[in-house]
Symmetry: C2
Subunit: 339 residues, 2 copies
């Protein structure tokens, strides 16, 4: 890194974009220039960056704004319109949307697991789905103990996965419920106060919804294993920002010993084992919120299958599930390739 | 039934006891006499029964109070002290606690599934664990389509399963959170506002907690199948009164067709299929609350196993998960044996 980095964040006012700004500040990036891009209706609005204030700028994909790196914290449509062009101008683009994740030429990266797949000539990198990241942070380390053939996972997904407006709606609808007031959902498809519902992405003819299909396909791509079987059930729960997952992992042969599972998990960067059976203390959203680690616990031999273990994981959807993973991808590539 | 029934409810002021009173009223039981029993500190307190008021009475297990039937909506300790004695006095006793569920001589009954196991000389009947009831209402009908060898289930359990105080704590702690106030948990082991946590029953050396062990053992007893394999993960979510469950059912052979699964479920008394893929409308606590049916949806072939299907169920923990099942046991036995 020469004199510093020029960095842009597209979608800086959203929940994930805002977390990216915070991480750039707190992880001590040598920032020479920082540009926060937003939608046309937010142009000129001030946005905080540490003690400074930035004004939201308009993104023009025809030139690279002199940026070394661009984070897209936007929906697929916006990413599809702009990200490829930006990457073609030799700006490293980390895209948080699902637009390019399954493109064969676009690496889909969780740095602790598969940073090595990125080639120096690849300028567009996809950040995986939040539920996939949290799942694989808990599961990938176990490959050291045997070949994994099947994963079953039921999610407990927070509001943040649907954006800042969903987080506000969870709070507002809950307040209305407690005050005995009527609340009409505007962001979520169903009432959210003290309620849970199936993830509302579209269901295909197999009966799986879009979020679940992402978990199946992204798992195969990230683990580089086209054969691995995944059965996800994605459910939204009234939690603000951390996703939890109940996971069963079936190995090709007999399941590894539980103390071995604990060991490989606790040695894996980005995982923290929280598994205190005596105090009944296990991963919880309130402990994952604001932290970078994926918490893993309830580690046990599956009582119904000698080849399987079960566990419970919890990670901050906005951080390791989105912003932090994106920032770590960039850091990992700086380390590998320099700038 | 001669001129009417004499009925007692022990633990009438609790969440389940109160629901039993409501059901006796609304299901048109021919009540000759109704006695509400409570703990010593509630003796004499008034309790509503329709337009009337009852005074809480003290329970004396030395005589049967002239009652035909006694519902115990109490914890295991109280049930263990009193229920056997009451049943020995030829009062039909339906016990909601876990005290006698695994006793070989005590039938454990979900009426739609195994009412037939009760003999006329059995006066003490155990009501199963709420999560087990909701699970088996969704799973037992599928036995018509093939032998089931394994069940995996992750629960999304509501506050009501931990009693009325837990429901109040969920509301109060959430209100405090929204007002930026500190709240010290008194009933639950962890902060409950916008949080989820592992069911806090004690963990045994296998790594399963008490609630999960109940689901394993009670499933075997109710289905009359000592071989059936069950892997439960029990989790508390910030929902007031309905439990939800993400379920995968593995058959001995190839999984049945999904339209067949839908058919047997929709023909099963006490189950309502809620499975609208187009509108993404599936079972939710707000739709299960206050109703007697277990809602079942997300019915699909397991993408990871040709022998399995997955589904999602939701039932009112206080009703079908407790009070309603108890009342239905009594009604079923009246039908079979008269009074």
């Amino acid at each position: 890194m020469s004199s510093g980095l020029s960095v842009g964040v597209v979608g800086a006012t959203g929940a994930v974009g805002n977390e990216i700004l915070g991480l750039l500040l707190h992880r001590g990036w040598p920032i020479l220039k920082l540009v926060a891009f937003g939608s046309s209706r937010s142009i000129g609005r001030p946005i905080k960056f540490g003690s400074k204030e930035l004004a939201i700028e308009n993104f023009d994909s025809d030139h690279n704004h002199g940026l070394d790196i661009l984070f897209f914290a936007t929906d697929s449509e916006v990413s599809r319109r702009f990200a490829v062009k930006s990457a073609s101008l030799s700006t490293l683009v980390i895209d948080n949307s699902s637009a390019f994740r399954m493109e064969p030429d676009v690496p889909l990266v969780i740095p602790e697991i598969n940073l090595g797949v990125v080639r120096p000539d690849q300028w567009l990198i996809a950040n995986p789905n939040c539920s996939t990241i949290i799942l694989l942070m808990a599961v990938a380390p176990l490959r050291a103990l045997g070949r994994i053939r099947r994963i079953l996972v039921s999610t407990y997904q927070s509001a943040s996965g649907a954006g800042r407006d969903a987080m506000v709606e969870l709070e507002e609808s809950t307040r209305a419920y407690l005050n005995g007031e009527v609340f009409e959902p505007k962001v979520m498809p169903h009432p959210y106060a003290f309620n849970i519902f199936s993830h509302n992405s579209e269901i295909d003819e197999s009966g799986y919804n879009g979020e679940e299909v992402k978990m199946i396909l992204e798992t195969r791509k990230i683990l580089g294993d086209a054969e691995i079987l995944v059965n996800p059930t994605c459910v939204r729960v009234p939690v603000l920002r951390s996703h939890s997952e109940s996971i069963t992992v079936e190995f090709e042969g007999p399941a590894p010993r539980i103390d071995e599972v604990r060991r490989v998990l606790s040695e894996f960067s980005g995982v923290r084992v929280v598994d205190d059976r005596e105090r009944s203390y296990f991963p919880m959203p309130i402990d994952a919120n604001g932290g970078g680690d994926v918490l893993v616990g309830r580690i046990r031999q599956d009582a119904s299958n000698p080849n399987a273990i079960s566990l419970f994981a919890c990670g901050d959807q906005l951080l390791k599930g989105a912003a932090l993973n994106a920032v770590q991808i960039a850091e990992g590539l700086f380390d590998r390739f320099g700038l």
